[in-house]
């Protein structure tokens, strides 16, 4: 990964401290992005096998980018804005992440290990193992100092609480605004738009709603929905909001909850899928579109329309695409010159991706050199809040995903909970916007 030469200035150039070394960064951008742009792609060692790890999802949905930041353990650097002098340390390595003696564990257990049965009941070995395991377990160190107390929880009441400011959430907010229904929209990222803002551009995607036309303060950025709880006063959303004075907890009571949180970039099991240099497709488009950071040569693998849109986006910005491998079916004609169906993908490299290989439909192994493997598959719906609110969750075996069960208007088992967008199983940004509009209209009709 590198920052593109034609990148416009996106903020103040600063430096951060990576284990005593000064690394250039851009103020306010995710610090993991600055690190990989500066060539530092190994940010951690994994918990059990001490495998090298670099950021994967850029969505707080995995654990590859966790670092000790300013003395705090397990911080998602993929969402932590870079600050001048910020101190970053890699975790779970001895003596250092670059030369970690515990990497040997990875070689001892080539297929995985069953810690339940290992040395079970073997005298002495059992006791030694328990002692060693305890020292090896854990990730990060307890902070040394007491934490300052955050400001008190704020209780808010609104008619509709919307979770997610992507295509579906914004379209719903537009309907609510037009109908004069008060709402609060919570977006986890520091910008709205979801894939409209940072996905691979889709043909026919709706224009982004202008948040300025919504009621003032109705859209909260960097506000993460943590749970859909209930108590003696009714159902509410617990939100962790980043305010200028620090984090604050919000309790948001509402008559209806319109959940449009989208999905998580899933893991696709293949050999060395955790090697630094393997990125989720949506991470790659985010890095390119918002921060002008991209690989030199990328191999793309996955399935679904986003795979081909991502290939087009990469080439459009000068990234060389070395392979586009569809793991499900023969690529539609004309999507990409290199597009091919394949199986058994594998990332190669010792500390970082240096090549990618797969089996072609004729059974031959094909290998290409690259510095990144981009895994683009449909996102895994974020059904958690809906399920907490009483909605049913089904399994789509054709796509291998869980999704929230809802009717065409986004109604779920729970009369207070409506859903729209990727959380119901995925589709295009246009379909998500339509679903958001329908759900907003349907829930407004049910309000007294």
């Amino acid at each position: 990964m590198r920052r593109l030469k034609d990148a416009p200035s996106r903020g103040r150039a600063i430096t951060v401290d990576l284990e005593g070394e000064s690394i250039p960064a851009i103020e306010g951008e995710p610090v993991a992005c600055s690190l990989i742009a500066a060539g530092e792609s190994m940010l951690a060692r994994s918990v059990k096998y001490h495998r090298p790890r670099g950021p994967y999802c850029f969505a707080e949905a995995c654990s590859h980018c966790l670092m000790r930041v300013d003395g705090l353990p397990n911080v998602y650097t993929c969402r932590t804005p870079a600050r001048e002098g910020m101190k970053l340390e890699r975790q779970n390595a001895f003596p250092s992440a670059k030369v970690d003696v515990f990497e040997t564990i990875d070689w001892f257990f080539p297929k995985g290990l069953d810690h339940h049965e290992m040395f079970a009941g073997v005298p002495v070995a059992e006791q030694v193992m328990a002692k060693v395991a305890r020292q090896l377990a854990g990730l990060g160190l307890l902070p040394k100092e007491p934490a300052p107390a955050p400001p008190p929880t704020r209780t808010l009441r609104t008619r509709v609480a919307v979770v997610g400011g992507g295509s579906a959430g914004l379209a719903a907010a537009r309907v609510l605004t037009d109908q004069g229904v008060p709402f609060l929209l919570f977006e986890r990222a520091d910008h709205v738009g979801g894939r409209l803002a940072h996905g691979a551009p889709e043909s026919g995607a709706p224009a982004m709603e202008d948040v300025a036309t919504f009621a003032p303060d109705s859209v909260r950025l960097r506000a993460t929905a943590l749970g859909l709880y209930d108590d003696e006063h009714g159902r509410y959303l617990a939100v962790g909001a980043w305010e200028p004075e620090g984090p604050r907890l919000l309790k948001v009571y509402a008559e209806r909850f319109l959940l449009a949180p989208g999905g998580h970039p899933p893991t696709v099991p293949f050999e060395n899928n955790d090697l630094p240099g393997v990125y989720a497709g949506r991470a790659a488009s985010l890095l390119l579109r918002r921060y002008d950071v991209a690989p030199q040569v990328a191999a793309l693998v996955g399935w679904g329309p986003e795979l081909y849109a991502l290939a087009a986006l990469m080439e459009d910005r000068g990234v060389k695409v070395a392979a586009v491998v569809d793991l499900r079916s023969a690529p539609p004609p004309g999507v990409h010159a290199l597009a091919a169906q394949g199986s058994e993908p594998k990332a190669h490299g010792l500390r970082h991706v240096s090549a990618f290989s797969y089996t072609t439909t004729s059974g031959a192994r094909q290998k290409v050199s690259c510095d990144a493997v981009l895994v683009s598959v449909p996102v895994s719906p974020s059904f958690e809040l809906a399920r907490q609110g009483g909605a049913k969750v089904g399994f789509d075996s054709a796509r291998g995903l869980f999704h929230v069960a809802a009717d065409a208007d986004g109604r779920t088992e729970s009369k207070e909970v409506f859903v729209a967008g990727d959380v119901t199983g995925g589709g295009t940004a246009k379909q998500a916007a339509e679903a958001g509009r329908r759900a907003a209209q349907a829930l407004v009709g049910g309000l007294s």
Binding site: H116, A120, D230
Partner: protein
Amino acid sequence: MSKSLICSCEDVTADDVRHAVSRGYCDVESVKRYTGFGTGICQGKSCLSAVAALLEKEKALAPDAVVPFTPRPPLYPTELRLLATAPVDESVPPVGGVPQEVEVFASALRPTEPLPAKAKVVIIGGGIMGLALAYNLARAGETDVVVLERGYLCAGASGRNGGGVRMQWGTPALVELAKRSIDLMKGFARELGINVWLRQGGYLFMARTEAVARKLERNVTLHNRFGVPTRLVTPDAARDIVPGLTMKNCVAASFNPEDGVIFPWPFLWGYAQGCRKKGVRVETYTDVKGFEVSGGQIRKVKTDRGDIACDTVVLAAGAWSPEVAKLVGVQLPNEPHRHEILSTEPLKPFLGPLVSVLDSGLYFSQSMRGEIVGGMGDPKEPAGLNMGSTLRFVSRFAQALMEQLPQVGHVKVLRQWAGCYDVTPDNNPILGRTPGLDNLLQMSGFVGHGFMMAPAVAERMAQWMATGESDELFTRFNLRRFSEGSIEREDMIIG
């Protein structure tokens, strides 16, 4: 080394999932527990669908039986100090709780093969009590036993507790049972081939009032009489045992270095595997629907998979026991009470013992994996089967924990859950024959500490059942005591 990771937070490979299936763990909840997938920092966001798809593709599960594991709050790791700011109204009882967890098992998970038409012993409840009893019966030569479990192994309190095991009790009977249990736990891996990760880091009990301090003092005398090396410690000595502990508002403490924590789940797997090897049937996702009674005896147990004729029925359904007993017209005095618990991000070892403030019921320990695991009872918790999670609990717990260990404020909570204590009027179990229904044996009412008692209780009960020799345990804790007078109350209840 080349690996295909399916859960990268916990370094679980696709082969690990296949291995779990080969051990008989096929449903998503069981595979989660056996492999550890989805229990790390991301709580399943990136791995859950991949595991589910693999289980379905490799025919470990029918498509209808692919249900996600329960998504527990918080959705993203959240600092204790932030959760501590949530307002709590201590004057009203806690209500609600999410997500709904009672009555949730998909019917597609129910096994399709027939149950045996008859068995000598039917044990209702595949928690630690039922499984430990079945295993001990089989060891004593009685293998014509069927264990019925309504969910997966670990679905009830046995899979939801904090893993604390201690000898510090207030009555001789429980001190002795706990002591024997911990001895049996030490040999568990050797006998059953599965690690339980017993770590004897001790239990540190703290007292806020003189009255509670005197209780600890009395306990020390009692424990020492049984060879349990509990000692009273001053606040300063307690701070030496747990660096960083404030001992705020605490006047005294007691410490037994031989208490500790274990990993609860492998006990159930170990006992269940041990049972199956000896020919005992352990039937999961099988619900008891009623009984056939004649001549003062239960003749058949009716389930959603058919009836089983039997000689003896053991009720070991924990907090569900009163509900099951009602099906056969037996009124039990137990009541289920929700108790909530949480787990944080894993950290390198910093905490030796399990620490508990006896006055408030706060307890916390560090698991083998490094997580802070802890809970605190709510005096206002109403009776009823409820396993939902509340923000009220995390807030109360976070406040109480930070009072004793201020540097945990930045530590992030990964998940919260709840289980049900099976509470009896005297905090002691109900064991032995049911008056008026001779072949129904009770094995419930363990008030949140059944897990640590089970190995010893099951050993005694199997012996008693197999030989018919009298054992005072089954008269002392008989259901009769509630109608006939003499009860001795256990008051060392926490959580």
